[in-house]
């Protein structure tokens, strides 16, 4: 690997956003050869159904278009051009400028492929050199994305590199070089993996770890028991193949009688089996004193509750790991329950069916996406 990769510091942020956005628009077209290659990879190597892979790419690149990237920069930085030069802050009247780290090392997990692409795009937005290590178990399609970028914008592509995969059980010592050169390390994986990686990072290097997470679905009221909601709930579950941090593992549904829940459960199971081909084991019971996460693939427990308080109580043991909740409830309770859930640590609450299409502005793990990757300089003229 070349030691000195040229940064894009002098390139205006607007130009980077336009270029990356245009590439995303290409990927959104069904006949894009890189997209086709990625779908094939996801089906053959990662075990996704074709429909899942396609839906996943739409969800990913639909959020990486130029307007959405620009909106993200505005949401997190106020004025995106602080990445280009000193800009006067409208509130304080002071001049400020932001710079990303010279080098970012990204270490990805095997479960879902999308974060690798998003992470690199964010890294390019802050004008850093991005080094990425994908999982040995599942490479995802970052290489295909970078290949498409090198055709589309060779200068930008030249700031990205894939790192070697290392050997099984060999730890992260082989990444010593890149890790010591990096101003920031972004890592995805189990809590154990993250602490293992941390051991290899020099003190003082910024670290962003995305670890274990649990998501669930909560459906309150008769309007949430319809087959339309059931189909959306199924989409939430199958779209990332139950592997993502936003994949609901357990559904909670309000109901008093079995006859109220059965049609929902049936429609849910049918939708799963139709869209995510194959048999699924859906169970339901009203024992909220014992909520266990499924141990196997293609298993979804539905917990039937009478009082929403029982759901909050059942979620308490998982609070530390809670990520997203797909929530269906009548207004005005919906707002109230959203408040309660956020107080428990849930960092994304959305409607059924939207779980796998998080907006790029979502505070992943409750944090800004790129604002905290930056170092600021303030100039009092």
């Amino acid at each position: 690997m070349k030691k000195n990769i040229k940064r894009t510091e002098s390139r205006p942020i607007a130009s980077i956003v336009t270029s990356l956005g245009a590439l995303s628009s290409r990927w959104l077209k069904k006949d894009c050869p890189f997209r086709k290659k990625a779908v094939r990879r996801l089906v053959d190597r990662s075990g996704y159904a074709g429909k899942m892979a396609s839906a996943m790419l739409d969800a990913l690149f639909g959020e990486l278009t130029a307007p959405k990237l620009w909106r993200l920069l505005r949401a997190e930085l106020g004025d995106p051009r602080v990445l280009d030069e000193f800009r006067r802050d409208r509130i304080t009247g002071k001049w400020r400028r932001a710079r990303g780290p010279a080098v970012i090392t990204h270490i990805f997990s095997s479960n879902v492929p999308s974060p690798a692409i998003t992470s690199f795009v964010l890294g390019m937005l802050v004008k850093s050199v991005n080094l990425g290590k994908v999982s040995r178990r599942d490479h995802g399609f970052l290489d295909i994305y970078l290949e498409s970028l090198s055709k589309h914008d060779p200068r930008l592509a030249a700031t990205s590199r894939l790192l070697p995969l290392g050997v099984k059980g060999g730890g992260y010592a082989f990444l010593r070089g890149p890790l010591h050169r990096s101003g920031l390390v972004v890592a995805y994986g189990s809590d154990e993996t993250l602490s293992e990686i941390k051991k290899n990072i020099p003190q003082g290097t910024a670290f962003e770890g995305y670890g274990h997470r649990v998501s669930v679905g909560v459906y309150v009221g008769p309007a949430a028991r319809t087959s339309a909601v059931a189909k959306k709930a199924a989409r939430d579950v199958w779209m990332s193949g139950q592997r993502g941090c936003l994949s609901p593992l357990v559904l909670f549904i309000e109901g008093r009688k079995e006859s109220e829940v059965l049609p929902f459960a049936r429609a849910f199971k049918r939708a799963l089996e139709r869209d995510a081909k194959g048999k699924w084991l859906v169970s339901y019971d009203d024992d909220l004193s014992h909520v266990s996460l499924p141990k196997s693939d293609r298993v979804v427990p539905i917990k039937v509750f009478r009082k929403i308080e029982d759901v909050f109580k059942a979620l308490r043991p998982f609070a530390r790991w809670l990520q997203g909740v797909s929530l269906e409830a009548p207004e005005p309770q919906r707002r109230r329950w959203a408040e309660r859930l956020s107080a428990m640590g849930v960092n994304r609450i959305c409607r059924a069916g939207r779980m796998q299409v998080p907006p790029i502005t979502w505070h992943h793990d409750g944090r800004p996406n790129l604002a905290h990757w930056l170092k600021w300089a303030d100039w009092e003229e």
Binding site: R213, D297, R298, F318
Partner: protein, 366 residues
Amino acid sequence: MQDSQTRLLDKKILEFIHRHADRPSTEVDFQALAYAVFEYQFERNSHYRKFCLLEGKSPGRLKSWKDIPAMPAAGFKELVLATFPLRNAVRTFRTSGTTGQNKGAHLFDTLKLYEAAILPSFKKYLLPDGVNLSFYFLISPPAESRHSSLSHMMGVVSRHFAGGKGRYYAEKEKILLGALLRDLRRERKKVFLLATAFSLKAFLDFLKAKKIGLRLPGGSRLMETGGFKGRMKEVSKTALYAECKERLGLAPECCVSEYGMTELSSQFYDTTLADAAAGIKRKPFKTGPAWTRTLVVDPVTGRETKNGARGVLRHFDLANRGSVLAVQTEDFGRRSGEGFELLGRARGAELRGCSLSYEEFLAKTG
């Protein structure tokens, strides 16, 4: 204490087992009892009843026994699948898993049916010639592994066919290789080795390392089992049997592979030895007793595959009265002869991802 309905049903199942110990069952007879067991389980096994309702199936609405909804084997990990209250459980067999939390459980309120189901097919497929044998178990003894259905089964076999004199050569996950070699060398009688593929391979490797080739007396035989899932990487059966010939002098015709699941009460065997004893020349296949049926189904549609096409195995076992009689495995196979051929045992698909798994959760909150 069992209620009268359960006692009556068990009596019927036992009669069926005894009546068909040595001969096949008709579709009509099998279906009649299968329906009775299904109705009973639908009524008493609440998770199974819900599963059936979600499949849109209930008693009185089936066209044949093939329509009885098959519970995925994963269900034994996720749900309590019993037709009786937990306090009535006399024994729990656990499936092997990578960690304690990942194990499935098969609960029994009586072992009567389970034990009755073991003997006829064991006799038919492993002792068809009634030869006097010395039993060598390379499997841990039942007293040591109370949760292993395989160990329990071996205990029953030893009691019934070896007068309780079978010897065990596995102890706390360790195989007593030296003792086994010593005893086999001294053995005068014909030998019956009963082993998991894992323990057998360990013994064969031991012999190889010592450059020893035993010649077991003619009529000696081997029962090998996949080890009830997951313990080791798939050992090629052909390679294993070739080594048995080289190191033990056991021809492949004397080796029978048993296929069992903790989730079932009955077992399946290769027809190799039984065919040889009856002078039948054909390609051996796997088959089970008359109170079982096996379908090969398409893993996506759940429908029976056609013309011997590959699919996943779905077993129906009438002796499984206390849990569910129909179990959907993730084992690949295809129709062969009057039974089936096992093409590979899919590892239990476990949830992977950045989502926290149950075991990890337990480990953290423990």
